[in-house]
Amino acid sequence: MSTPATTPVSGPAARGVTPVDLHSARSVLGAHASRIQRTGRTLPFSDERHLQASQWLVDEAWLLDAQAYEEWLELLTDDIHYLMPVRVTTALGAGYDTSPGMAHFDEDKYSLSRRVARFLTEHAWTEDPPSRLRHHLSNVRTFATDDPDHLVVDSATLLFRNRGDVREGSFVSAGREDLLRRTDEGWKLARRTIMVDDAVMRMQNLAIFL
């Protein structure tokens, strides 16, 4: 499959800053996570693998909007690493822009399953009444890996969350890097790194998933 010459070359997000796909390896609780990384350039948008990855992400976004968390959990592999580093403002050239050793989410299947189980109790007050959620998804690009059963997918997400009738809604904007794994039950999420664009979150809590 040929790649148009204009396709952007994959690589680190910015000079001097940790490439997204290394955050999982460096995080405190990422020891169990898959280390598979992207290879080569962005797959053409017409590539079957890109189409499948894009559809997976769109379907997932609808599940998250609907807070269909049990179904969502089924889409995660047992060795999932779900990471959302804390972003910090550092000088250009400091070499890092995430808080060392700290994250908002640094999750495995167990901790995610507890979070989901909590939402399913009748006593998770923060989501009763539930928020109105919309995950806006864009900028999807897909990369092959050395393993034909794994794809790396970048995407941008903008979550709008609104509660009640008095407070204004709030936003979370983030870039994500996902590792998708082909299984007998279809593609599953094996690793996600969420690079949020806020150093100080403007949301009362993160009782949501990105």
């Binding site: 000088a91 507890r114 998770a124």
Partner: protein, 490 residues
């Protein structure tokens, strides 16, 4: 400014005018009279372990660079250039030998002294026009630390920090002195909530009553075995010095067994037995109480809990330190750090961090439900109806002031201060009484510093956490040359 004495008197008798949780006029008074004089936490020394390390933190609107200088002295510089007032450092953390202002290029050593002033001779006629020598970024009016916790007071005449903390230090040690190396902090996570800052401080200080209701869900999912209503009321609340907190009653057992019950490995227990005093150990071993949440007036809170972190019966303790930083009458920025004993085994540190993430902080499953309540409360306190409502904060007292449950005697509780078992609002009243005492009294006008003029910063205000070593004056010129050579900037 209207007379607040009726409000303050109501607060002192435990009848809380609901509007104090969302009141513009009171917020203005808090800025001047609470945060204008109290000791306010800004950082922990473990966040800036090496020379040149810094973090930028705020006390209300005032930005401070908390830096460790080349001699290892911790300092707090007001983050405003002495020239035209530009923010000198715009990163929130890093390592720098010098800070260079982006506006006209004045530069400062990390101990605050000015070293680079472009065209000093041509523009000012040198020292004759502008006394560069001895000028430094304006230091915080008062700076001190306890167990590595660094505090700023905006009052140069504030009582010494240790005196201010008073007997609360006894309890602070459980969180921050589990080994000779003390704690290390990670984070903070930062997020803004549409809630008044006092609500979180009150809750952490003593609200054992909310746990079984607010946090039902975390018990239901098997994360935490403690918050069941029966268990929580067997614990006690205590108030000592400038802070107070809550405890859980531990099951019968020896001192070692009780520490292990909350998940400490024996090697950490052994170190705690070396570090803690006889009475501190008796509170656990004899009295059977384990510290949990706590607050230090005005806006610093601590947490110690022990949830499950995997699908086993094992629990893991974690410690969190957090600050309720006021943004406005109805908004607070939460800064939430994970803290762990520096000598703990690496595996313990990782799992303790996992316990923290699952329970507290921006994603914590306890925290999520707390904040929902506080946002809602703040919102409801804004209107005129809230001005007609005095909330009863007298839990634990009969109408005539008799205690529902008498205070624990010295043989039942070996800690200082006053402790009571069961549900009560003693600590919330203690916190708000201090608040009322501060709100009542205006602060003295602050002294000013004339930049480049004859007036110099006095030694006692030099902004060092430890006495600064006298510095050779002729160092200045060499420093400036070095700064210019390095072209260093933050």
């Amino acid at each position: 400014m209207s007379d607040q004495s009726a409000v303050l008197n109501d607060v002192r008798r435990g009848m809380i005018p609901a509007h104090i949780y969302n009141d513009q006029e009171l917020f203005e008074l808090e800025k001047e009279r609470v945060f204008g004089r109290a000791w306010v936490f800004v950082a922990h020394e473990s966040e800036i372990p090496n020379a040149g390390d810094y973090v930028v933190r705020r006390v209300l609107e005032d930005s401070f660079i908390i830096a460790r200088d080349e001699k290892g002295v911790v300092r707090a510089h007001f983050n405003m250039c002495l020239h035209r007032g530009m923010q000198v450092c715009r990163a929130e953390m890093g390592n720098a030998s010098h800070f260079r202002c982006p506006y006209h290029g004045w530069s400062y050593r990390n101990d605050g002294r000015i070293v680079g002033l472009p065209f000093h001779q041509e523009a000012y006629g040198g020292e004759a026009g502008f006394k560069r020598k001895g000028q430094r970024l304006l230091p915080a009016p008062n700076l001190a630390s306890y167990n590595g916790l660094i505090f700023i007071s905006m009052d140069p005449d504030a009582q010494p920090l240790e005196e201010f903390l008073g007997d609360f230090r006894f309890y602070l040690d459980y969180y921050t002195r589990q080994s000779p190396s003390g704690i290390e902090l990670r984070g903070p996570q930062r997020w803004r909530i549409k809630a008044n800052w006092k609500i979180g401080a009150e809750n952490f200080a003593g609200d054992m009553y909310h746990t079984p209701q607010t946090h039902t869900s975390v018990v239901e999912i098997g994360l935490f075995r403690e918050p069941k209503a029966e268990k929580r009321k067997d614990g006690c609340t205590y108030w000592a010095g400038s802070g107070g907190g809550t405890t859980y009653k531990l099951p019968p057992g020896s001192l070692d067994e009780r520490f292990r019950y909350v998940g400490y490995p024996q090697e950490m227990v052994d170190r705690m037995k070396q570090m803690l005093s006889e009475d501190q150990l008796k509170v656990v071993g004899d009295d059977g109480f384990m510290i949990s949440a706590a607050s230090i007036y005005p806006n610093l809170s601590l947490v110690h809990n022990w949830p499950k972190v995997a699908d086993t019966d094992q629990v893991l303790p974690f410690i969190s330190i957090r600050q309720w930083q006021p943004i406005s009458a109805d908004e607070t920025e939460v800064l939430s750090w994970f803290a762990v004993d520096a000598e703990a085994p690496e595996e313990f540190k990782a799992l303790s961090y996992k316990a923290y993430l699952m329970c507290f902080g921006s994603t914590g499953m306890f925290e999520q439900d707390d904040v929902e309540n506080w946002v809602s409360l703040t919102n409801t306190a804004a209107g005129s109806m809230a001005r007609r409502l005095l909330l009863n904060s007298r839990m634990g007292l009969l109408e005539d002031g008799t205690e529902v449950v008498p205070a624990l005697g010295p043989d039942q509780f070996h800690g200082p201060g006053v402790a009571h078992t069961g549900y009560a609002e003693y600590n919330q009243r203690e916190l708000l009484t201090r608040w009322a005492d501060h709100i009542e009294q205006p602060v003295k006008a602050a002294s000013t510093l004339e930049v480049g003029g004859a007036e110099q910063v006095s030694v006692s205000q030099a902004g060092a956490a430890r006495p600064a070593v006298p510095e050779p004056a002729d160092q200045d010129r060499a420093d400036q040359a070095r700064a210019d050579r390095l072209g260093a900037q933050a």
